[in-house]
Symmetry: C2
Subunit: 226 residues, 2 copies
């Protein structure tokens, strides 16, 4: 079994990489730079994970057209990255249809290297409310991939943590010995996590729920016991 | 109605642009450079079409990662572009899952500019046998787009020539006054079409069947009456 893992540099994809390594004979890492504000920091996290997992091959691709297209606070400097405001529809950090780009690029690569699995760390319920994180989207995309590639190409999209809560994901990572200290989640800063953006707030509360202390540094003081 | 048209610089997308202009209030053109050998020539054809149709906006994106990924004679200089060998499975000019990239990028753009149609000049039967030109693939992809974008985003993938024969496509273009002399089909050369690659052979025979003379120049002599 050959699996391509979409590795962003965040915690979810890190844990999925650990799962893929257990399930596959060979793993391959794919990372996308799309002009997001934390691109350099995420790429560093990716390279640290690469060193840890030693995938058979890696592909780092530039999809800066996502920045050209815009529409997201993650890529457009004119749009502010808002503080977490609870469950209030699709947040402005949503990069339109981004995960489809990830899977589409992985599919082209999979067809060339004859990989049969694509792993993505999408999380449906306990996440930021992005529409491209829903399980039924991946099921539909898998069907489209089956119809749009060669008859002999059989690709399964694996979403092993899609129904997990963030706290469970951290516990799985901890159990599998995934290097959680390499992962980067903050949408806003490049050196020290801000602790207040959507992504940081979710991460911190998940570590608390998991009963663990996040090994990364935050710009604000955090009481890990409450 | 706002429509994004995928304009490669070839004849099929040219004719689809002419159809979209009749069906939509506003048209937008999207062109992809993916390191194909005829990239410069196709971009020139695209710019000529842009001048002719005057779309509201254009987006030219670089997806050179398709060249990084390889697997096609169109992007890999080590692979020879073979002469047309008839109906013999998927030819080596197939760029793995390329059209999915086109539609995925168009979808992200559509979500930002609130376009509701994506036009693509895919041709199923009378074409080169690429799996990403099948109608059922586009139906499945449309479903995936519906599930993977915001609830208020409604995007239709329009494939108006998918069941047309090449000769019919030329006749439609001729009827609509599409500037066929701007279109570029050859996979091999940048100045004068070779007349012998898959794409040239199909084009020449289609013009003959349509009872028209192709206005572009070929490197070989062609008897348009037989």
């Amino acid at each position: 079994m050959k699996g391509i893992v979409l590795v962003s540099g965040g915690m979810d994809s890190l844990v999925v990489a650990a799962i893929a390594q257990k399930e596959c004979d060979e793993i391959y890492f794919l990372h996308l730079n799309y002009g997001q504000k934390t691109e350099v920091r995420e790429l560093r996290a990716f390279q640290q994970m690469r060193g840890f997992f030693q995938p058979k091959d890696v592909l780092v691709v530039d999809v800066s057209y996502l920045k050209q297209i815009g529409g997201s606070s993650l890529t457009d400097r004119k749009l502010e990255i808002k503080d977490f405001a609870g469950d209030d529809g699709v947040p402005n950090s949503y990069v339109p249809f981004r995960n489809a780009h990830l899977v589409t690029i992985a599919t082209s690569w999979a067809e060339v290297i004859c990989a049969n699995r694509i792993y993505i760390g999408a999380v449906e319920e306990d996440s930021s409310g992005y529409p491209d994180c829903r399980e039924n989207f991946y099921k539909a995309l898998e069907k489209a991939i089956d119809l749009g590639t060669k008859d002999e190409t059989k690709i399964e999209i694996c979403t092993p943590i899609i129904h997990k809560r963030k706290a469970e994901i951290i516990q799985i990572g901890d159990k599998f010995g995934a290097p959680l200290h390499f992962s980067w989640s903050c949408y806003r800063d490049n050196e020290i996590a801000c602790g207040t953006c959507d992504s940081c707030v979710l991460r911190i509360s998940a570590f608390k729920e998991a009963g663990l202390i996040d090994p990364i540094k935050y710009a604000i003081e955090i009481d890990w016991k409450n």
